[in-house]
């Protein structure tokens, strides 16, 4: 049996509200293998997004463990977690989260800049640019390189966000309702694109969604309710 690229073991997460402790995740066990697509389904408040943030090392678990390639990572110092997040994880969000001051190309290039110093980036800026352009062409935005987010449609913005998530060549993509803000036709196009890239690159995909039809396209569906995996 191969080691899963991403694994959560007995993950608990609770938030404090005054003196009250509100449990959000209650003993989640989940693993995602390389090249596998997993859909996280559940009603609002089930804890899907919180689990995604914990798995993406944005939020530490209250208890339990998170492993990347068999290595425990949830207890690492903040700097190492950030570096790991950059190297191993690509995020795609419902609201795209593009930086409005930057063009599509600059938004994608920013992913490359995150882990390099000014001098290191200066030495590789041409290759980085070529790679970002290739990535944007792959998502069908070769003619929209220098447009700002406000000049792009919702679908185009999400394609830019996908290109940005993939530029650093992560092993896992965590997508939080990537089609939640798109009309059905555009959503279908974005999903087709995501699955096509996932197959080409053999990425692990963890998808948070409310959409049953989208979930059925994944290898596996994990249902959540009140902070626990029900099926």
């Amino acid at each position: 049996m191969t080691t899963p690229v991403l694994q959560a073991t007995a993950v608990h997460k609770h938030y404090r509200l005054g003196k009250r402790e509100i449990p959000v995740l209650r003993g989640i066990d989940l693993s995602v293998a390389a090249g596998e697509t997993v859909a996280l389904l559940g009603a609002s408040g089930a804890g899907k997004s919180t689990l995604l943030h914990v798995l993406g090392l944005l939020d530490p678990p209250s208890s339990g463990e998170v492993h990347y390639d068999g290595r425990r990572v949830d207890a690492l110092p903040i700097g190492q977690r950030a570096a790991l997040r950059h190297a191993q994880v690509g995020f795609v969000f419902q609201f795209y989260h593009l930086i409005p001051e930057l063009t599509a190309l600059q938004n994608v290039l920013l992913a490359r800049m995150m882990a390099t110093s000014v001098f290191a980036y200066w030495g590789q800026r041409k290759q980085a640019r070529q790679k970002a352009i290739a990535m944007l062409e792959q998502v069908g935005l070769g003619d929209r390189l220098h447009h700002r987010p406000t000049e792009l449609s919702g679908g185009e913005r999400q394609r830019v966000a996908i290109a940005r998530a993939l530029l650093a060549e992560p092993k896992v993509v965590l997508a939080d309702e990537p089609t939640g803000n798109l009309d059905s036709t555009t959503a279908r196009g974005v999903v087709d694109l995501m699955f096509s890239i996932q197959q080409q690159r053999g990425l692990a995909f963890l998808l948070v969604t409310h959409d049953e039809r989208l979930a059925q396209r994944c290898h596996r569906v994990v249902r959540m309710q009140d902070g626990v995996v029900v099926r």
Partner: protein
């Protein structure tokens, strides 16, 4: 790399940040220009004051001092190039029958003088005075018209009356001509047989002998020269050798302080009163310290005022940066998701503040240097376009607005501005780093 890249993008896409930059630019520019102006002015004023002064003076000579012995002892010093004795008094100099005008406000004539009737009357020996100061040159200054020039032997009696030399500005303003009669009204202290000392009014006639002009208009406006013998006869009739001040010229200006110290010991030895602080040897700078320090004090005050302007500009920058952080909280989440850390996010906003400050410093310093170099041209342009003369150079006997750019001051201003910029950038940057990235990721 992303920190600097994002900081620059945030700045260039937000014109409001120009406000903070403009504030820093203006305050740096003002600090460079105003302090350059004051420094240049102080340099010029010091030069003017020195031109109108002897290098060293021995003041507070006691009445029993043997001036001949003292002068001989001072002349024996190898650094002394010339010595002269003076009598100093005050008095009202008016046309016969004229009443004095109202007393001006205190300090009104501090710099340029000339509009008050109460004057310093210097009793001098023209020959020896010329060896100590530029006295001869003051009488033939290019600005003095021919008809107002003194005769070859200045301060010789004219029509049987002693003569007085008056500053050119005062002379022309009061419409005086060579040969006009004036009355000097003053007082001398007399001791009656019971030993009581009381002032007694003394008046004597003088004739205008000509004009003089030094570079220091304050000196010209407040001083008149008469022959020492004239003052001696009228004010010290019982002391034929009366001397109140000894003025000296030295060979080497670099050794002025050392020479002053040595001559002080000579004076103490000659007066045989080491234990008492009678006569003091003062350098020209010490003699005029009140005036020179007042100008330096004005410069220090201006520096304080302008630093306050810099603080105000910094607050403007703080406001624009805080506004930007509030607007950009949505970016904090995605930066963290892409591998950023709270420290990295802090650096983005800190870099924004530092880039604004650095640009403001560079622009303000360059503008300040250019304005400092062309200050006279700026003054003329302003006068030509608006009619306002911000720096009336005639009043200070100047040919152009003085300016001296001190590289050390530029460095100090840049350092001060950078420290202020850093200080006001830290707060918004720290606030940005405290923002929970998950909140912005959930909010969208």
């Amino acid at each position: 790399m992303y920190r600097l890249f994002l900081a620059i993008r945030y700045l260039v896409t937000r014109p409001i940040n120009l406000l903070g930059m403009a504030g820093i630019t203006i305050s740096v520019w003002a600090l460079v220009v105003v302090v350059s102006l004051f420094t240049g002015f102080i340099n010029v004023i010091e030069h003017h004051v020195h031109q109108a002064s002897a290098d060293l003076v021995v003041v507070n000579l006691p009445p029993w001092a043997n001036s001949r012995k003292l002068v001989a002892a001072l002349e024996a010093d190898p650094q002394v190039a010339g010595v002269t004795t003076r009598l100093l008094h005050h008095g009202l100099l008016l046309r016969p029958g004229h009443r004095p005008p109202p007393t001006p406000l205190p300090g009104r004539s501090a710099l340029h003088g000339g509009d008050q009737p109460f004057l310093f009357v210097q009793g001098i020996d023209p020959r020896s005075e010329a060896k100590v100061t530029g006295f001869d040159d003051w009488l033939i200054h290019a600005d003095i018209p021919k008809e107002l020039r003194a005769m070859d032997q200045a301060l010789l009696p004219r029509d049987g009356l002693p003569t007085v030399l008056v500053g050119l500005q005062r002379l022309t303003r009061e419409g005086l001509r060579v040969g006009d009669r004036l009355v000097l009204t003053t007082a001398r202290i007399e001791t009656d047989p019971q030993g009581r000392r009381s002032p007694r009014k003394v008046q004597f006639d003088l004739v205008v002998g000509g004009a003089f002009k030094t570079a220091h208009s304050g000196f010209d406006g407040n001083t008149v020269f008469v022959a020492a013998d004239t003052l001696r006869q009228n004010l010290f009739p019982d002391t034929p050798d009366a001397v109140q001040e000894v003025a000296l010229r030295v060979h080497d200006q670099q050794q002025l302080e050392a020479t002053a110290g040595r001559l002080q010991r000579t004076v103490n030895r000659v007066l045989e009163r080491d234990q008492y602080a009678w006569a003091s040897v003062l350098t020209w700078r010490e003699k005029n310290s009140g005036f020179l320090e007042s100008v330096q004090h004005q410069r220090a005050l201006m520096q304080v005022v302008l630093v306050v302007i810099m603080v105000v500009a910094a607050f403007l920058m703080l406001a624009t940066l805080s506004m930007m952080v509030t607007e950009k909280v949505s970016d904090i989440g995605i930066l963290c998701a892409m591998g950023g850390t709270p420290l990295g996010v802090t650096t983005v906003f800190l870099a924004c503040g530092l880039v604004i400050t650095a640009c403001g410093i560079v622009a303000g310093t360059l503008l300040g240097i250019v304005t400092g170099i062309y200050l006279e041209e700026v003054r003329q342009a302003l006068r030509w376009t608006t009619g306002i003369d911000l720096f009336p150079i005639d009043v200070y006997n100047l040919e152009r607005v003085p300016s001296a750019i001190d590289p050390m001051w530029l460095l100090q201003v840049a350092g001060m501005a950078m420290a202020t910029g850093l200080l006001v950038s830290v707060l918004p940057a720290w606030r940005a780093s405290r923002h929970d990235p998950l909140v912005s990721l959930r909010a969208g």
